[in-house]
C-alpha cells in the first residue's frame, strides 16, 4: 500500500515509510510545522493567510469542490466563539483517501487545522472520524498527544498569543454523518441528521457558533500550499482547479489504491498508474467521483482529465475523488442495485422524497435485477428520481438519484434486456470470472 507511484508527491510525501513515518518527529523531519511556526513568528494577518489560500484555488476535497479560501472568509470576524471542524467521516463508497492520510500523515491534518483555526479565529476544533476506521481514530489521538506535548496545541501555541485545542471524535459509521451539518449534530450528541440550510455553518455551526468545516484532505493540503505559495500550488494543476488531488482508484484495475496526481492529469494516465485493467479486459464504465457521481461510459471517460471542470463537462462530478473502474464483466443492473441499496440504507429519513424515494428506487432496481422488471419501470425510475432531486434538505437524495439516472441513460439497452429477458446481458459466468473472487463455474 505504501509504495505509490505519484507525480509531484505532496500530500503523499510522508507515505513512503508506511506505518513507520507518521509520528511527529518524522513529520518535523520532512518540514512539518514549519509553516505554523512561520505564521506565528511573522504574526501573519488572518486576511493575508486567507488571501494566500484563495490564490491557490484549493477547492474542498470532500465532494462539493467549494473554494476553501472563500469559505474561510465567510466566518464572522467579531464572533467570540468559533470552531474548526475536520470531516474525516469518509463513508462514500469508493473513497479511502482520508483514511490513508490519517494513517500515514496525521500531523499534516493537525497542522492544517491549526492554521485554519488561526485564519478564522477559532479556539477549538474537532476531527470527526468515521467509526469504521477506529485504528485511525486511535492513531489520531496519539498524534494529538504528540502535538500537544510539543506545544503545537493548547494555550499560547509556541509562545504566541494564539491558543487552539483540537479533539478527536469518532462516529459509528453512518454515511449521513459525513454531511457537514449531520456531522455537527452528531458531535453535539444528537442524531446525525442534516440541518436545513441556510443558515450555513459559517454563521450557525457547532453548538450554534460560527464553524468552518473542511475535508481531511483539504486541511492536509494547507501546509503545503503555504510552503510553496498559493500561486505555485495553483500552477501544479490547472486554472480554477489548483494543486494535486488524491484519487482512490478501485475496481477492476491491477493496483487499486490511492494516487496523488496534479489536477488535470488525463484519466488514461491515472489508469495506467493503477496498473491498467485487470486481466487486460476492456474498460466498460467509470464512476469518477465516488458512488454519488453519475457513471460515465469508457469512451467518454477516456477523453477526460481528472479535474472538477473536465469531469463536470462530461456530465459527472469529481466528487471526493473515488474512481470506481468497471470492466466488461460487470452487469450494470446489478451494480446499480448495489448502489441503490446503499442509499436506501443510508438515508437519514427526515425528508419525505429521500426516505420514501430511496426505498422505491432500490426495490424497483432489485426487481429488475431479479427478473421481475416491467417495461414501464425505466420511466418510473426516472420519474421517481425527478421527484427526489433538488427537493430535500441535503444532497443525499440527489446522490441516490444520480447513479440511477446515469446508469439508465448510458446503459439503457442493458436494462431493457434485463426487463425483457429476465436475466443479465452479461453472462453470470462472465460476471463471476470478472469479480476475481470466484473461479468461473464455481459458486
Amino acid at each position: 500500500m505504501a509504495l505509490i507511484d505519484t507525480i509531484n508527491p505532496l500530500l503523499t510525501t510522508g507515505w513512503s515509510k508506511g506505518d513507520a513515518g507518521w509520528s511527529l518527529k518524522d513529520y518535523e523531519a520532512r518540514g512539518g510545522y514549519v509553516q505554523l511556526k512561520r505564521i506565528l513568528a511573522s504574526k501573519m494577518t488572518q486576511d493575508d493567510l486567507i488571501a494566500e489560500v484563495k490564490k491557490s484555488v484549493l477547492r474542498g476535497r470532500g465532494g462539493a469542490g467549494f473554494p476553501t479560501g472563500l469559505k474561510w472568509s465567510f466566518m464572522p470576524k467579531a464572533a467570540p466563539e468559533k470552531y474548526v471542524v475536520c470531516n474525516t467521516d469518509e463513508g462514500e463508497p469508493g473513497t479511502f483517501k482520508d483514511r490513508d492520510l490519517m494513517r500515514f500523515d496525521p500531523h499534516s491534518v493537525i497542522e492544517g487545522m491549526i492554521i485554519a483555526a488561526y485564519a478564522v479565529g477559532a479556539k477549538l476544533g474537532y476531527n470527526y472520524i468515521h467509526g469504521e476506521i477506529f485504528d485511525m481514530y486511535q492513531r489520531f489521538e496519539e498524534a494529538l498527544d504528540q502535538a500537544r506535548a510539543a506545544g503545537y496545541l493548547g494555550n499560547n501555541i509556541l509562545g504566541s498569543d494564539f491558543s487552539f485545542d483540537l479533539f478527536a471524535h469518532h462516529g459509528w459509521g453512518a454515511y449521513i454523518c459525513g454531511e457537514e451539518t449531520g456531522l455537527l449534530e452528531s458531535i453535539e450528541g444528537k442524531k446525525g441528521q442534516p440541518r436545513y440550510k441556510p443558515p450555513f455553518p459559517a454563521n450557525f455551526g457547532l453548538y450554534g457558533k460560527p464553524t468552518t468545516i473542511n475535508n481531511t484532505e483539504t486541511f492536509a493540503a494547507i501546509p503545503f500550499i503555504l510552503g510553496m505559495g498559493g500561486e505555485a500550488y495553483l500552477n501544479l494543476g490547472k486554472p480554477n482547479n489548483g494543486g494535486t488531488k488524491l484519487f482512490s482508484v478501485s475496481g477492476h484495475v491491477n493496483r487499486p489504491g490511492n494516487y496523488e496526481v496534479p489536477m488535470g492529469t488525463p484519466f488514461a494516465k491515472l489508469l495506467e498508474m493503477a496498473g491498467g485493467m485487470r486481466g487486460g479486459r476492456k474498460l466498460k464504465a467509470v464512476i469518477p467521483g465516488g458512488s454519488s457521481a453519475p457513471v460515465l461510459p469508457a469512451d467518454i471517460m477516456m477523453e477526460c482529465t481528472m479535474d472538477y471542470d473536465s469531469i463536470a463537462k462530461a456530465g459527472s462530478m469529481l466528487g471526493s475523488g473515488a474512481v470506481i473502474v468497471m470492466d466488461e464483466t460487470v452487469c450494470m443492473v446489478k451494480a446499480l442495485e448495489r448502489l441503490s441499496y446503499f442509499y436506501f440504507e443510508e438515508s437519514c429519513g427526515q425528508c419525505t422524497p429521500c426516505r420514501e424515494g430511496s426505498g422505491w428506487l432500490y426495490r424497483v432496481v432489485h426487481r429488475i435485477e431479479h427478473g421481475e422488471g416491467r417495461p414501464e419501470d425505466l420511466d418510473l425510475l426516472n420519474r421517481v428520481t425527478d421527484n427526489m432531486m433538488g427537493k430535500t434538505i441535503c444532497a443525499l437524495a440527489d446522490a441516490a438519484a444520480f447513479p440511477v439516472r446515469s446508469f439508465i441513460k448510458h446503459f439503457k439497452s442493458e436494462f431493457e434486456y434485463h426487463i425483457e429477458n429476465k436475466k443479465c446481458l452479461v453472462d453470470p459466468e462472465v460476471q463471476r470470472a470478472g469479480s476475481g473472487f470466484f473461479k468461473a463455474g464455481a459458486a
Binding site: 436545513y196 426505498g359 427537493k391
Partner: protein, 786 residues
Amino acid sequence: MLEIEIDGKTLQVADGSTIIEAAHQLGTYIPHFCYHKKLSIAANCRMCLVQVEKAPKPMPACATPVTNGMKVFTHSELAVKAQKGVMEFLLINHPLDCPICDQGGECQLQDLAVGYGESASQYQEEKRVVPDKDLGPLVSTDMTRCINCTRCIRFTAEIAGFMELGQSFRGERAEVMPFIGKTVDTELSGNIIDLCPVGALTSKPFRFSARTWELSRRKSVSPHDGLGSNLIVQTKHDRVMRVLPLENEDINECWLTDKERFSYQGLSSAERLTKPMVKQGGEWKEVDWSVALDYASHALRDVAKTHGGAAIGGLLSPHATLEEMYLAQKLLRGLDSENIDFRLRQSDFSADGKRKGTPWLGMKIADIGRLDRVLVVGSFLRKDHPLVAQRLRQSAKRGAQISILHSADDDLLIKLAARAIAAPSQLPAVLAEVVKAVAELKGVAADPALAKVGAGLVDVNAAKKIAASLVSGSDGGKCAGILLGNFAQQHPQAATLSALAQQLAGLLGGSFGFLGEAANSVGGYAAKAIPTAGGLNAAAMLKDPRHAYVVVGAEPELDCADGAQALASLTKAAAVVVLSPFKSQAMLDYAAVLLPVSPFSETSGTFVNTEGRVQSFYAAAKPLGEARPAWKVLRVLGNLLDLNGFAFNSSEEVRAEALDGQPEFVSGLDNGIDGATLNLTASPNGLERVADVPIHFSDPLVRRAPALQQAADSAAPTARMNAATLAKCGLASGDKVKVGAGGTAAVTLPAQFDAGLPDGVVRIAAAHADTVALGAMSSVLSVEKA
C-alpha cells in the same frame, strides 16, 4: 418591512417572515405537514415546496425567509409538480387504512391527498409496517401511518420541555418512539394527538367510539384551573365523546392540558347522581324533584328558624359557575347566613376586609410572556398551571430570567435563574429577605418591619440571587412579575406572602398577582361568594360546626384545607344539602339530601378566569338522567323559601345581575391589601407537611376520569423526604411509615426519597382518599417506621 409578491399579489411582510407566514397573511394556503407555527422549523415533509423566481429548485415555504422583491408562485407548474411528487411519496408506504382509522374525516393527509394525490399509485412494492408503541393511557399509536413529520417530537422537546419522543433508526426504517420502557407522561402529552397530521397518534379514550362527522360540537370553557382554557366539546347522543382545544392566543394558545382534554370521561362516571335522593330514617331513597326540593327547603328553613341563619354554612366549589355561586350566596343570605365561601383550600383569611378588591393575576395571561423577570412563589407550577409553565418555558428560551421560591424543587422543565427552596414556615422570611435585598440593590429603605427577619435562619444567599435577577431586568425590574401560586395562597401565612409580594413589586416597579387555583377563583369574588363582616369563612365554618350546610359542587373532605375536619363537621350537622353531579360514599354518610346537578357540560354558565375575563358557555349536552343545571335548582329553592329576587328565567339574567351587565372583564380587580400585619415568624415543632394537590385529584370531575387516573401523575401518595430527613427518622426510601398529625388518626404510606425537598419536611399529597385522615394541608407531622 419587505415587499413581496405571491401568485401575482403584492404584500408587505415583516422582516424575517417565511414564505408560508407571508402566504398566510394573504390567505393563500400552502400545503404542509411538518410546519406548525408554535414549533421550530424542521422542513422535512417537503409538502410546502413552492416556486421562487430565480431559484433553480423549488423551495420549502416553511423554511425560506422572504427577501425584498421576492416573487413566489404557489400554484405554478413547477410548484404543483413538486407538491404532487411529495404527496405520492407520502402515500406509497402509507397503509391507506382510512376506513378503520380514527383520524378519518379530520386527517390532513387525507384532505391533501384529495387535492394533490393521484387516484391510483404506481408503487407496487411491499409497504412498510412499523410496530406500535405504548405511550401510556392517553395516546394510542398506529405507527405505520406515521409520516415522520416530527411534530410530536418537537412538541415534547420544545413545548412540554422534555424530549419524551424521538426518531430512532434511519431512512425508511425511521420510527418515532419514546425512550425504551417509558411512556409519554407530561401534563401536556395529549397535544401530540392534535399535532399529528395523520392517524398515527390518536386519543386512547376516544378511539373507535365515533366518527368526527357524527359529533356535534360546542364551544366551552375548561372547568379546571384558573386559566379558563377554551374548549370544543364534542358530543354524540348527548354524551361528551371528546374535548379539543379551541384556539385562543390570549389564554390557552392552541394547547390543552391532559386534565382539560381527558377529564370529560368523568362526566360519564358510574358515580353520576342522576336522581334526587333523600335520607329517611337512615335509608337513602330516590325521589321526585319536588319531594327532594321540598325536603331541602324545609330542612334549611327549620335550622334557620330554630338556630338562626348563622347556623347554616355554605361551601361552594371554586369550580362552580358564577351563576351557581351567585344564587347560592343569595339563597344563604336570604336565610340570614353570612357563612359563605368558595375558597375551600385557603387557611389564612386575615386579609379579608383589608383587600382593595378581587385578587387576580395582576396582568393579562398573554402578558406573562412579556415579563423579562419572573419570581414564582409557592407553586407546583408545572402541575398546578401547566400552560402558564409552558409560557414561562418559552420566555426563558427567549432570555427571560425565571426564579422560584417554594418548598419543593420539582423539575419545572424551565431554565431557572435562581431558586430558593425552604420549609413552608420559612417561605415568608425568605421572601422578606428578597424584599430587603432588592431594597438594598435599589438603594432605598426597606420596610422596617422586615428588619428583624433573622439572617442565618433562612437561605439569604438564595434570596439575594433572586433579588439580583429581578433587579437586573429592564428598567430595574419594571418588566418583572411576582406570581403567587396555589401553595402560597393555601399557606397559613398567605396574607403575609401576598403583602411581601406587593412590597417587592412596588420596589421593582413591576407587577404581582395570583395564579388562580380554580376555574372561578376570581369569579367567586365577583359572585360575592365570600363572607362579609360577621360571617364565617370556609375554614371557620368547619372548625366551628354548623347545624346545617349547603354544599355546591364540592367534596369537602377532599376539596377543603382540612378534609378530616370537614368530614367531622359535616357528619355532625343535622342537615347537609348537597348539590352535586356526583355521589360518593362520604356524601351518602353525611348528607340529608342529594340534588343531582349538571356538570359544566350540561349547563350554561360563566367562569371568570384568573385575569378577570368573563367567559360564558352553553350546555354541550342534555343533563344526564334527572340532573338539572344547578342555577335552576337554586332558583327553585329560592322560590320555595319565599326569598325575594329569584325570578330568573335564564342563566344570562343571573349573570347580568351578578356582574351588573355583560362586561368582558369583571370590575374591581385589585391585589392590594391595606394595613396587612406581617406575620414573619413561625416555628413549627416537628416535621412540616408540604401538601400538593396532585393534578388529577384537584376536583371531583378529574378524580373520576379513568384514563387520567392511570396516568403517571396519578400515582398513589407517598411520604416524601430528603436524605437528611429520612436519615433523621431512621428511614430508607420504600419503608412503610406511619404518619400522624397530632390527633389519633394516622395513615400508613411508603416513604420516598425526594432530593428536591428542604430539611425537616414531609411531602404528602392532599385531595386523596388515602391521606384525608391526616387533616390540615399545613400541619406538623410525626413519622415512624410502620
